[in-house]
Symmetry: C2
Subunit: 458 residues, 2 copies
C-alpha cells in the first residue's frame, strides 16, 4: 500500500482540519485550534477508472484496503451521515420503521428460498466454529420475512408494515471497480414492506417510488426511473432509479417524451421506438442508484409470513422491497456533478459547507487577517451555529492562498472564505468563492453573514 508515486501533493484540507472548526470548537479562538492532522489520500494510478474514484482518492475521501474494500475517511463519513439523515426523513415520511438486521445470515434461510445456490459466487460464505454455514447478507428478503413470520399474531390492523435498515452489505463482485460505484462492501438502505392485499402493496410501491423521486430531487440529481428486470430478487414488477452517465454499467432506452424508459436487460430483444408514441428511443448509459421490486408472496409463502385477516383467517402478506445505494449515491453524485478536477456535491450532503483560508505565513496581512477571519467565524457561529459547525479552517499557512484555494476547489466546499489582500482595508473585505454559482464576491463581515443567511444552506 506504500511507496506509490503520485501521492505527495494531494493533502486534503478537510481531513487535516476536520476537528479544527468542529461543533465543539465554536467558542474557542482560532488561535487555539491550529492543530494539523491528516489522513490524506492514495491514488493508485493503475486502478483509476472513473472520475469519482479518481477524485475521491485524490481528495483523500477514500483509501483502498483490499480489492473493492475502502476505508471511508472523515469527509466521506460526514457526507454519508448527511445522506443517511435525508434517507431517514424520506423513509419515515412514508411510515418506515428503522431496524438493523445481522450481517451473518444462516444458510438454512437461503436454502429455503433457493438463493443459496442461485446467488453463486456473489455470496460471501463462511462457517462458524461449529461448522454451521452462513453468508454475509447482500440483501435481506429472507431474514426480514422470517422476522415478520415469527410474529404469528400479526393482525391486518397492524399492516402495512414498512421496515428499513441502513447497513453495510457484502457482495463478492467478480471485478470490483469504479471505487464506491461497485465495491464488495457497501452501505445500502433496504426497505421491506408487508401489505394485506396486492392493491395495498401496489399503493405502497407507488408511495416508496415517490419517496425515492423526492430524495433524488432534494439532492438535485438528474435521474430516470426505468422499468427493470427482477433478476435474483424475483417478483413481478421492478423499477430502477438511474443517473445517466457514460461510466454507468446499465444500458437504458428512453422515450424523448417520457412515455417509456427501460433497462435494456428487461426487454425481449431490441426495441428502437416507444411502445406508446412510436418516437425513436434514446439510448444512454446509467448508474443504478435505486431499485424497487413488487414481490407479491414469493418470500412470504416460503417463510409463511401471514397476518390475521378481518375474517380471522391467516393470509400471506404481499411484499415489496426497495434498495438505495448509500455509498453508491455518494460516488455517483460526484461522478455526475463534478468537473474533471473538482468535486461537486449535492449541497444537502457536502461534507462541509464552508472553508476558511487565512493569510499566508509571513505575509503582511498574516496576523491581522487571521484575527479578522477569527472574528468573522465567531460572529457567524453566533448567528448561524449550524453552519459554523460545518466549517473547515485550512491553516496550512505555509502554502499560498492560491494553492489552498485550488485544494478547496478540489474538495468542493460550496463556499470558500478567504482573508486575502483586502482583509486589512477598513472595513475589511473578504473574498467569498461561491463554487456552485462560479462567482467571487468581495464582502464585508456583515455582507458574508447576510449572504450565508440568505443562501439557505441546509
Amino acid at each position: 500500500m506504500r511507496g506509490i508515486p503520485d501521492r505527495a501533493d494531494t493533502r486534503n484540507p478537510a481531513t487535516h482540519r476536520a476537528d479544527t472548526f468542529g461543533p465543539n470548537g465554536k467558542n474557542q479562538p482560532l488561535a487555539k485550534q491550529r492543530a494539523t492532522r491528516s489522513v490524506g489520500c492514495d491514488g493508485r494510478a493503475g486502478e483509476l477508472s472513473c472520475r469519482s474514484q479518481k477524485l475521491m482518492l485524490q481528495a483523500g475521501l477514500i483509501h483502498p484496503a483490499s480489492p473493492g474494500c475502502y476505508h471511508y475517511l472523515p469527509p466521506t463519513v460526514r457526507a454519508m451521515e448527511k445522506l443517511i439523515r435525508v434517507m431517514d426523513e424520506e423513509m419515515q415520511a412514508v411510515g418506515g420503521q428503522k431496524v438493523n438486521m445481522p450481517s451473518l445470515s444462516s444458510a438454512e434461510l437461503w436454502h429455503a428460498s433457493g438463493r443459496w445456490n442461485k446467488m453463486g459466487t456473489e455470496l460471501f460464505r463462511l462457517e462458524d466454529r461449529h461448522g454451521k454455514e452462513y453468508c454475509l447478507g447482500p440483501t435481506h428478503e429472507e431474514a426480514v420475512t422470517e422476522l415478520v413470520a415469527a410474529h404469528s399474531n400479526l393482525s391486518y390492523k397492524q399492516l402495512p408494515l414498512r421496515l428499513y435498515q441502513i447497513t453495510r452489505k457484502f457482495r463478492d463482485e467478480p471485478k470490483p471497480r469504479f471505487g464506491l460505484l461497485r465495491s464488495r462492501e457497501f452501505y445500502m438502505k433496504d426497505m421491506y414492506t408487508f401489505d394485506t392485499s396486492e392493491e395495498a402493496a401496489r399503493q405502497t410501491y407507488k408511495l416508496v417510488c415517490d419517496a425515492y423521486c423526492s430524495l433524488f430531487d432534494r439532492l438535485g440529481l438528474p435521474f430516470v426511473k426505468v422499468q427493470a428486470a427482477t433478476g435474483n430478487i424475483g417478483g413481478t414488477m421492478s423499477h430502477e432509479f438511474q443517473l445517466p452517465a457514460d461510466v454507468g454499467e446499465d444500458r437504458l432506452v428512453l422515450c424523448p417524451d417520457g412515455h417509456f424508459a427501460a433497462n435494456v436487460e428487461m426487454l425481449n430483444g431490441e426495441r428502437t421506438s416507444c411502445p406508446t408514441c412510436g418516437e425513436k428511443l434514446i439510448q444512454t448509459r446509467g448508474i443504478e442508484v435505486g431499485h424497487t421490486f413488487y414481490l407479491g408472496t414469493k418470500y412470504s409463502s416460503i417463510s409463511n409470513a401471514v397476518f390475521c385477516s378481518p375474517e380471522n383467517k391467516p393470509q400471506l402478506a404481499e411484499m415489496g422491497c426497495y434498495g438505495l445505494g448509500v455509498t453508491r449515491i455518494l460516488a455517483a453524485s460526484i461522478e455526475v456533478l463534478s468537473t474533471e478536477d473538482n468535486i461537486r456535491w449535492p449541497s444537502l450532503i457536502t461534507p462541509y459547507q464552508l472553508c476558511f483560508i487565512p493569510p499566508k505565513r509571513g505575509s503582511k496581512e498574516e496576523e491581522e487577517g487571521a484575527a479578522l477571519l477569527d472574528r468573522l467565524y465567531n460572529d457567524l457561529a453566533e448567528v448561524l451555529p449550524h453552519l459554523a459547525g460545518d466549517s473547515v479552517l485550512d491553516d496550512r499557512t505555509q502554502l499560498t492562498i492560491g494553492k489552498r484555494l485550488k485544494d478547496a476547489n478540489k474538495l468542493g466546499y460550496p463556499y470558500v472564505i478567504v482573508a486575502g489582500k483586502r482583509v486589512c482595508e477598513d472595513p475589511s473585505v473578504f473574498e467569498v468563492w461561491n463554487q456552485n454559482a462560479g462567482e467571487v464576491l468581495f464582502l464585508t463581515k456583515e455582507g458574508v453573514i447576510e449572504l450565508l443567511s440568505k443562501a439557505q444552506v441546509p
Copy 2:
C-alpha cells in the same frame, strides 16, 4: 423461530406506533395517524439468562436471528442512534475524526501481527471467490495502522491523529449469551491514536479515559475504572470501564477508599488488601463496557507507521486504542437500571421520551379525551418540537388504560401522559406518570407543558 409458546401477550406499543407520532406527523391530527404496525418480540424461555436479555426480548427490542445474532427492532435502533450521538460528541471533543473501515480484513495483515493464529477460533474467517483469505474484523489495530502507514509523508505537525469509527464488529464467541451483552455481532466504538512520543501518547490516553468518564457520567451509569490485562491486543497499560453487576463476567477487586481497582485477571495471584492504604479489598463482578490500551509501537513497528520528526527523521508513532461497546452499553444500562419487570433507560438514550395513552374505546371519555390529548400533543409540538418528535401514541384503544400503562412501564418511557377519568373536567386534567421519580401528577395542559419544559429532557 416460530411456534414458540410464551409470546402472545408481549405486544410492544413503541414499535406499534413508532411512526404514529413521528417527526413528520407533528402537524397531522391524531385521528389520521391511527395506523397499527408491529414488530413484537419473541421470548425463548430456554435461553433467557439475564435481566436485560429477558426484558429486551419481552419488550420487542430485539429478536433472535441465529445464536448470538439479533435483529435490533425500532426502539433499539433509536436508543442506539442517541447513544452514538453522545459518543460522537465525546470523541470529537477530544479531537476524534470519524472514519469507517471495512469489515473484511485481509489475512496478510493479521499474519504480520501474529494475530491470525493467536486469535484462534474467535475470528470469523472466510475466503473470497479467488481463494484469498479474510477475517471479519473484531477490532482494527492492523487495519488502521496500515492506513496511517500508507501516508508516508505524515509530519509531526499533523499528530496527534485520533481516528475512530462506530461500526459492526464480529467475534465467534464460543458461547454467545446474555443477549446483547455477549453476542457474535455487535456495534463498537473503537478509537486509534497516533502520537509523536510516549509522553504525548500518555496525555492522549488520559484525555480519552476522561472522555469515557464523561460519557458514563452523562448517561448516569455507575461505573468503575479498573486496571486490566492487555490480552490479545497487547501494549503495556490498560484499563477497563466496568458497570458493577452480578451478571458481569469479570471479577473485580476495589479499594473501598478508591485507591485501587483492578480486574483480577491482571493480578498475579490473589490480592486481598489495597497496595496503597492496606484496606481490605471489596470483591464484585462487572460488565466491561469500555477498554483502553496504551500500545506503544507494537503495531506501528509492524506496519512501519512513521511520521517525520522535527529533525526530518522517520520515527514510529506511539499508539493507543480505545473501545466502547455500543450495543453492550445499551444492554448493560438496562441490566443495571431496570427493575425485574420494567426497563429503565439512561434518559439521554431512551428510545422515546413520551407515551400518550388515549381513553379506552367505548368509554365515556373516548371521543373528547382523544381530541384533548390530540390538542395537548399539538401544543407541545409547537413549544417543544424536539420532544414531540420523541413521542409515541399507544392507540390500542381496545385495551384498558391500566394494561397500556403497564406496557408503558415495561418499555420505560420517562413520561406517560394519560387521558383518564379527569380529562373531561373543566379545565381538563391529565395524569402524568413520571417514571424515574416514581410519581403521578394530575396536571392541566399548561401544567404538562410547564413540567416538560422544566424537565430539561435531552
